[in-house]
Amino acid sequence: VIGRGALALGAAIGLATLASSGAARAASFGADGSLVRDPAAVAWLDFESEPPRYLPDGLDPKCRDAAFTMTAGDDAMDGASFARLLVQPGCSERLMVYLPHEKASYRATIWARHGALNAQFVAIYQDPQATPPTVAKMLPTGRVTSDGWVELASNDFPVDGPNLAHAYVRISDFASTAGVDVDALEVVPSGDFVEAKSCTGHDDASCGAERQCEWKTCVLPRLNLPPLPAEELRGPVVDVLASQMRLFFGGQRTRTEALPKALAWVESMRGAATASAFWGAWARGVRELHDWHTNADAGIGGGLGSPKRLNACFIEGDADVARAAWPKDPRYADILVSHVGPGSGGLAPGDRLLAVDGKHPIEWAEGLGDTYWGLWRACDPNVHAEAVERLGGPVWGGALMLRYAETFTYVHCDAQSGSCDETPTTVRVADLPNNDGSGYDVYCDNRPLYHLADGKGPDPANHYGLWWQVFRGRIEGTTADEAIFGMAWDSLWGGGDPNGHINSEIANAIADWKAGARGVILDHRAGNGGTLDAATNVTRLVRPPMTIGAFRAPIAVAGFDGPDDAAAGKAIYDEFAATTPYPVGDPGWASDLPVALVLHRDGSASDFMPFGLKGAPNVRIFGPHATAGGFSTFIQFTYWQAMSWQLASGDTIAFDGRALIGHGVEPDEIVLAKQSDLLAGKDTVHEAALAWVRAHLKGAK
């Protein structure tokens, strides 16, 4: 362990007297172009000798060797040498910085060239449970030099000096071939110190205007964000971001209904006075686009987590047992516990989640969108499955209640008696037991149970594997004579390769079913999309060939709001069906094989697939509601590994002229998971699909 403070100062490090807080400062340049350190700087690395490294406990052995070489050069930014950084994939270099034993706010700057530098200033504390790390991203200021140096700087970040364990700059290179040169790290007092503070949840206003509550901790979004653009640039930056939305975003429904709301938020950026307010308003605008493919991410709250555990998944359902005492919210489905793992906070399958922080769970989750950048929404405004799926689950897959809720209220129901408590139970998230790490964190895939015989499905203890694997086999509880087979999978990533993993699985399954099945159940309840070829391949089983739609994405004509009516849509279909088709079917389709498709939270290619199956002669679709309606593709933008955003672009025009985006595929039978079934260990939607298949078996009289 390297000691803290001035004791460990080496030749590469200077320590200046802490200056009083004030406006942002940085090094300047002399008349000859030499760097002149800011006299107020409290720490710097000039790379005249090898800087001390910080090696965290548990560091991957491949990351232990120094990832830089000291390099002498007349063109060093500061002094006569610099570091040439070449970091292995998956590693970072961490260079120690020594800060005063005071509570203060700082701004850090560093110079890099010959590539891009991913840099964060990190402060970790002696009691990391009491004081989470401070991590401030460093992003370009706009200062560059004729010899290639580019300045990166953080926004102001607080450091609790007396409690500091280590401070360091974490760096890795990218967009380079031979490494990135790094020099002249400087830390200067800037801004006002704020104490670390805990909070109770999303609705806790005690964090103040500049902080928001993430994982029970008040965090400063600005630490993850670019600086507020200079005043003269602010308007033009807003103009560019707004024009991206106006020109490239969406299709008919999303442009008509959502785009105006989004643009209003973007316009509000012009009055923002801080980086958080500026970029926060823009990200809010992105969320208002209400689109399955559209999002913005800055990693706010990233790296935090919860010592608690709420190892449960929730599903939209029908609380037929607990309904009498607690009526249904007319706006939303009931929310039930689907499946749980160790540390479920007392929740069990079949329990009904009545409220989170006093609101219906869907209202609560979708209401997080005022500050939560990661809110995921369907294009179809009537679909809420994305929010429900992320109420629970692991920290890496949702966990919205652990992250943002102060309390939740549920009605416990007993599987033995099939009855529910007379009074609901309210649990404070802070009172949940700590995570003891036992067992698995369950993944939420909208499947209370799996139904392939001989245990061929995913492990029911964790629900892992459906992101990429395809499981198929005979349906459990059916006879050999019935020959009912099923497939459970969530990816349609064909990638244009007919021999790729997913396409091969689909093709092999179809061949087997044609040869030996009398009925098929396709379970695609967490459809993560993929590519059109895989969606097409599924449809080859069930219908003769046709071009069911024309894919008009990404958008081809700036700001195209979609066809005015079905006739105009049909004209678009006629024009483009040959060049950008969504083809379905196959001449050798199985005309006498019943195929049930079970859906729940499905988008993109997982919209196209059911759209291609719907209406086929022997297909019936079962689910609680429509799919997401994400009938487009997207464009991605990234700002220096700090902030990324993705805009959906385009639409799909059906054979009859309908513009499809925002209109999810409706099931043929609306079936919700019944609470009574969950308590009895049954899967309502699967049971409905199985009953239909059994009634329509191939070869039955």
């Binding site: 063109d75 030099t145 290639g148 590519t531 991605q636 990234t638």
Partner: protein
């Protein structure tokens, strides 16, 4: 072989237009694009102007921050880190390369010929003309900038390239070819000629054209025949004012033009035609965990 010939021919078309009448076809600089966003930006020496610090432009190099006092170690410029934000309503997804990432699945530029959707040519630093990112095009290689069209309006296109000389001869702007193109048959490719045959004092060449209205989704195609690496930056495609003069050479397509366009269509049709939701990318997830110490 046929593919190589086709690529050669489309560039020969560009070079021919630029060298034989192309200059004459260009309306006077500034006048041709007077109403376009980047017309307000300083032209010429990218290393000695400052649109980034003082105005909304963001292009150009920037004013040295210290007065000239004899031999200098370096000049210091101020750039707009968000790029050429004066180019509002740019019909290219990311004309200035500022929003580039190697982790993007569908970004606004693609290397040509198309082999992967990941754009690997972005570079960072003072070499760029506007903002902090631009592209390095390898010798013999090219780029497609993805854009949109705007029906019923003429289109004004421009970009900047900084050629080096592969031998003792001075660099020439004519070794870089640009065109507005598409993956359809409705529009003729519009060659974008250089404004001048030789680079300006800072080594940059400007390319401009005003094209008639286009029906199809529009791409900006740039090819590097300089014999060495090329830096490209600050591409702008905007709706041109109704009274702006078309500078694209209008003539019937030659067989070479047709073949060249067919090659482009074949190349562009390698792009995904449908939704594109790849499984989670480990590298991207690693960056998303950036908050972890």
């Amino acid at each position: 072989v046929s593919r190589a010939l086709v690529w050669t021919s489309v560039m020969a078309l560009g070079a021919a237009l630029a060298g034989c009448g192309g200059d004459e076809a260009v309306a006077p600089t500034g006048a041709a694009l007077a109403a376009t966003p980047d017309a307000s930006l300083p032209s010429g020496d990218a290393g000695a102007t400052d649109a980034g610090a003082g105005g909304a432009g963001g292009a150009g190099g920037g004013v040295p921050s210290a007065p000239d006092a004899g031999p200098k170690k370096r000049e210091v410029y101020r750039r707009n880190p968000f790029g050429n934000v004066a180019a509002t309503n740019n019909l290219l997804w990311d004309g200035d390369f500022e929003w580039a990432s190697a982790f993007s699945d569908q970004y606004g530029w693609i290397d040509a010929p198309v082999t992967t959707l990941q754009f690997t040519s972005a570079i960072v630093g003072a070499d760029c003309r506007s903002g902090l990112k631009c592209a390095r095009v390898k010798k013999g290689g090219g780029l497609y900038g993805i854009g949109v069209t705007t029906r019923g309006a003429k289109l004004a296109a421009s970009f900047w390239a900084k050629p080096k000389s592969a031998n003792a001869s001075p660099p020439s702007c004519k070794k870089v070819s640009g065109a507005l193109t598409s993956d359809g048959a409705a529009d003729a490719d519009a060659v974008i000629p250089p404004v001048a045959a030789a680079p300006d004092a800072s080594g940059w060449c400007e390319y401009r054209v005003v094209a008639p209205p286009r029906q199809d989704k529009t791409y900006l195609y740039i090819r590097n025949d300089t014999g060495t690496d090329l830096v490209v930056d600050d591409a702008v495609l905007v709706r041109a004012p109704i009274d702006q003069v078309v500078t694209m050479e209008l003539r019937p397509p030659t067989p070479e033009d047709v073949a060249a366009h067919a090659a482009i269509v074949e190349d562009l049709r390698k792009l995904p035609r449908g939704p594109y939701d790849p499984p989670p990318n480990a590298a991207r997830r690693a960056f998303e965990r950036v908050g972890a110490p």
